[in-house]
C-alpha cells in the first residue's frame, strides 16, 4: 500500500512542471512518435527500409547501442567515488547517477530491438522457454549483463528513494552489496560489449585486445561529460543543491580518461599504419578514404579534433573549474566520442568486407527517425525520473499517514482563510 502510494506520488512529482518542462516533454514526444512510425514501417516491410545491406549489415543502430552502453556504464564514475572514496558531495546525488544509467540501458535495449531482423522472436533468447546459447555466444552474455545492470540500478536507486520517501532506515546489509555489485557490474557491461565485436577475427579492425580498455576509457570520458551537463541542468532548474566539488571531481575523471583514450587511439593508429597490412584497410578507409570513397573521413577528423580539443581545454584548471564553460567543453567531448565510437568504429569494422569490397553507407530516414526517437525516449525517461528523484531527495514528496494528511489539509485550509 505504502509502495503504491510511492509510485503514484513519484509519477505525480515526475510530471509536474512549468511551461518550459511541458514544452520540452512535447518536443521529445514528437520524436517519440517518429520512432513509433519508423518501427512500424521497419517491422511491416523488413529491414529493407534501412540502408543496411549484405556488405554493411551492422550500422547506425548498433553504433548508437555501443555508445550508450558506455554512457550507462559511466554512472559508476558517480557511484564509485561516493561509496568507495566516501565522497560526500557525490554521495548526496548518487541516485541521480543511477537514474542516468537506467535511462541509458533502456535506450540500449531499444537499439538492440531496432537492430533485430525478427523482434517478434526475441523470446527465443529467454532461458528455459527459448534457448540460451550460454556461455558460447557473446550476445547472451550481453543480454545478461545489460538486464542485470538495469535491475541492479532500479533496485539500488529506487530502494534508496523509497526508504527516503517512507522515512525508514536503509538496511545496509541489503543495500551496500547491491551498490558494490553494481560498481563491478558497470565495468562488465561495457567490457562484454567490447568482446561482442572484438572477438571476431573476420573483422580485423576490431580484432585486437586494446578494444575493451579503449571502450572503458572513452565511456568514462563520454559518460561523466553527460552527467556533468545533466547535473548542471538539475542545479539550474530544481532546488537540488549540487556542490561545485562534485563537478570538479567529474571533470577530472573526464580529462584523464580522455587522455588515456587518446593515447590508446594513437597506439592503435601507429600499430596499424606503420606496417599497413591488409588488416589495417578499415582504419585506413576511416582516416583517409579509399579510392575516392571517403564519406567517413570528415567524421573521423571531426571526432579527433573534438576529443583532442576538449582534452587540451580540460587540462587547463581555469577552464575545467569554470562551470559556465565546462558544459560546452563536455558537450564537445561527448559528441566527439559519439562519432568516434559510433559510426567511426562500427562502419570501418565492416568495411571492407571479408572479400575486400568497399561499400559506403549512410543511414536511411527510417534509421534516423528510429535512432532520434530512442534518444528522445531516453531523455523523456531521464527528465521524469530525475524530477521525481529530486522531489524525493529534497523531501518535497514524502509518505504521509492519514492523520498527518489531515493535519496538512487543515493547515492549508487555515492558510487559505
Amino acid at each position: 500500500m505504502r509502495f503504491l502510494q510511492f509510485v503514484v506520488d513519484y509519477l505525480k512529482a515526475g510530471f509536474t512542471g512549468g511551461i518550459l518542462f511541458w514544452l520540452w516533454m512535447l518536443f521529445l514526444l514528437f520524436f517519440i512518435m517518429l520512432w513509433g512510425y519508423g518501427e512500424y514501417v521497419q517491422i511491416a516491410n523488413g529491414m529493407i527500409v534501412t540502408n543496411l545491406n549484405d556488405q554493411v549489415s551492422w550500422g547506425f543502430y548498433l553504433a548508437n547501442f555501443v555508445f550508450m552502453v558506455g554512457v550507462a556504464a559511466a554512472a559508476v564514475t558517480v557511484v564509485f567515488p561516493a561509496y568507495v572514496y566516501k565522497h560526500k558531495e557525490l554521495h548526496r546525488i548518487v541516485v541521480l547517477g543511477e537514474m542516468i544509467a537506467i535511462a541509458a540501458v533502456v535506450m540500449c535495449l531499444l537499439f538492440v530491438i531496432a537492430h533485430m531482423g525478427r523482434p517478434d522472436r526475441l523470446w527465443h533468447l529467454l532461458p528455459v522457454i527459448g534457448i540460451f546459447n550460454f556461455p558460447h555466444a557473446m550476445l547472451t552474455w550481453d543480454v545478461i549483463v545489460l538486464n542485470g545492470y538495469l535491475l541492479l540500478n532500479i533496485i539500488g536507486g529506487y530502494y534508496y528513494l523509497y526508504k527516503k520517501y517512507s522515512g525508514g532506515e536503509i538496511n545496509k546489509s541489503f543495500y551496500l552489496p547491491v551498490v558494490y555489485i553494481a560498481i563491478v557490474w558497470a565495468l562488465s557491461i561495457h567490457t562484454v560489449t567490447a568482446f561482442l565485436i572484438n572477438t571476431m577475427p573476420a573483422r580485423p579492425m576490431w580484432f585486437h585486445s586494446m578494444m575493451p580498455i579503449k571502450f572503458i576509457t572513452t565511456a568514462f570520458a563520454a559518460g561523466p561529460s553527460l552527467i556533468i551537463v545533466v547535473f548542471l541542468l538539475v542545479r539550474r532548474f530544481t532546488p537540488m543543491k549540487i556542490a561545485d566539488e562534485a563537478f570538479h571531481l567529474l571533470s577530472q575523471i573526464v580529462v584523464w580518461c580522455l587522455g588515456i583514450a587518446l593515447f590508446l587511439t594513437m597506439s592503435e593508429i601507429v600499430t596499424e599504419l606503420y606496417p599497413a597490412t591488409e588488416h589495417s584497410l578499415g582504419l585506413q578507409y576511416l582516416m583517409f578514404g579509399h579510392n575516392g570513397l571517403n564519406s567517413l573521413v570528415p567524421f573521423f577528423w571531426t571526432a579527433l579534433s573534438l576529443m583532442v580539443g576538449s582534452f587540451i581545454l580540460l587540462l587547463i584548471p581555469r577552464i575545467r573549474k569554470n562551470l559556465t564553460l565546462l558544459p560546452f567543453v563536455c558537450i564537445a567531448a561527448f559528441v566527439g566520442i559519439w562519432i568516434e565510437k559510433g559510426m567511426g568504429l562500427m562502419l570501418p569494422g565492416v568495411i571492407p568486407t571479408p572479400v575486400g569490397e568497399f561499400a559506403e553507407y549512410t543511414p536511411s530516414h527510417i534509421e534516423l527517425m528510429v535512432v532520434g526517437g530512442i534518444w528522445a525516449i531516453g531523455f523523456f525517461l531521464l527528465t521524469f525520473m530525475l524530477k521525481g528523484a529530486v522531489a524525493v531527495l529534497q523531501g518535497e514528496v514524502r509518505y504521509r499517514t492519514e492523520t498527518s494528511k489531515q493535519a496538512v489539509s487543515e493547515q492549508q485550509a487555515e492558510a487559505a482563510t
Binding site: A44, P119, A137, M200
Partner: protein
Amino acid sequence: MPKQDSSKTKDNKLTSRRDFLRSAGNYTVASLSGAAMLLSDPKPAKANVTWEEHFQKNYRLMTDEEKQEAIERLETRYSEEYGKQVTVDGTPSIEGVLFGYALNIQKCIGCRRCVKACVAENNQSRGDEQQIEWIRVLRMEKGKFSEADRDQHGYPESFGVQVGGNAYKPAGVVLEGQHYYEPEQVPEKDAFYFPMQCMQCEKPPCVKVCPVRTTYRDPDGIVVIDYNWCIGCRMCIGACPYWARRFNWGEPNLPKEEMNPVTHYLGNRPRMKGVVEKCSFCVQRTRKGRWTACVEVCPVGARKFGNLLDPNSEIRKVLAKKKVFRLRADLNTYPKFFYYMD
C-alpha cells in the same frame, strides 16, 4: 471463397484479411508482437503462419513427432501459397557421412552458371529489390610483371628505402577480387576466377556466436539454419570470414512459377523476411545421394563433391593427389571446402 486465390486483387486482400480476423478462433492468435507482425504483413498468404508455427521449438530440439508436425504444417502452407504440391523433407544426416567439397581454380572459367543454378535450386530471393546469391565468383587479375610496370625510381621515393616492386601499381596478384564483372565472353584473357560460398567449417565461427543456436552443425558436417528460429541479429554475418551468409532484408521475392517445390526444412524451403540464409550443400539433394546443383551444372567439371569418410570417393582422391589449399587457414575454421590445382 478459396483463401489462397492465386490472382489476388486489393479487394481480395482486404476480405482475406477480414477472414483471417473472423477465423481468429481457429488460428489461436499469436502474442501481441507476433500478431502485430502477422497483421502488418503486406502478403495475406502469410497470415497462414499459425500460432503453432510461430511458437514452435528449435528444430533440433523437437521430437520426431513434432518435426513431422512442423513439416506437415509447412507443406500445407507452401502448397497453398505457391499453388503446387510442395514437399518439405526432414531427412537427418546419414551415418558415416561427412560431406566435403573441392574446387579446381585452374579450371573455373567464371561463367557463373553455378550461381544461377544455385538460385533456382535453392529458392533464393530474386529481382532488383533484393537479389540473394549464395555463391560469389571473384574475378582476380592475373599477375603480370612486365618491363613497363617496373618502377625505375625505387620505392617509395621520399622514404628512400627500396624494398623491390612497386607499391603504387598493381604488380603481381592484387588481393581485391571483384564479383560484379560482366564480360562478353568468359574466360577473360587476363583474369582467373575464384568462387566462394559457405565453407561448412568444422569449427564454424557463425555457430559459436549465434545467441539462440538457430544455426548448428549437423553430424554430416553441414552447417544448417532453422529459419523459423533465427532472430535476425546478424552476429553470424559479422563472424563469417568468408562473407558467405546472406540476410533477407525484405520479404523474399520468389515467383510462384519459378519456385522449386522439392525442399528440405534446413535447406531450400522458402524463407521469410528478417532471417539469415546460406549455402547448405543442397541438403535436399545430397542427403538423397545426389550432387549439389552447382556441381551438376558446372560445364568444366571444376567442382567435386563427396563423402570425406569414404576412402574411395572422388573427393578423397582429389585431396590425396592434387595441390590443395583452404581459404584463410590462419583463422582455424577448418573449412570442408577445398581449392585445388592440377
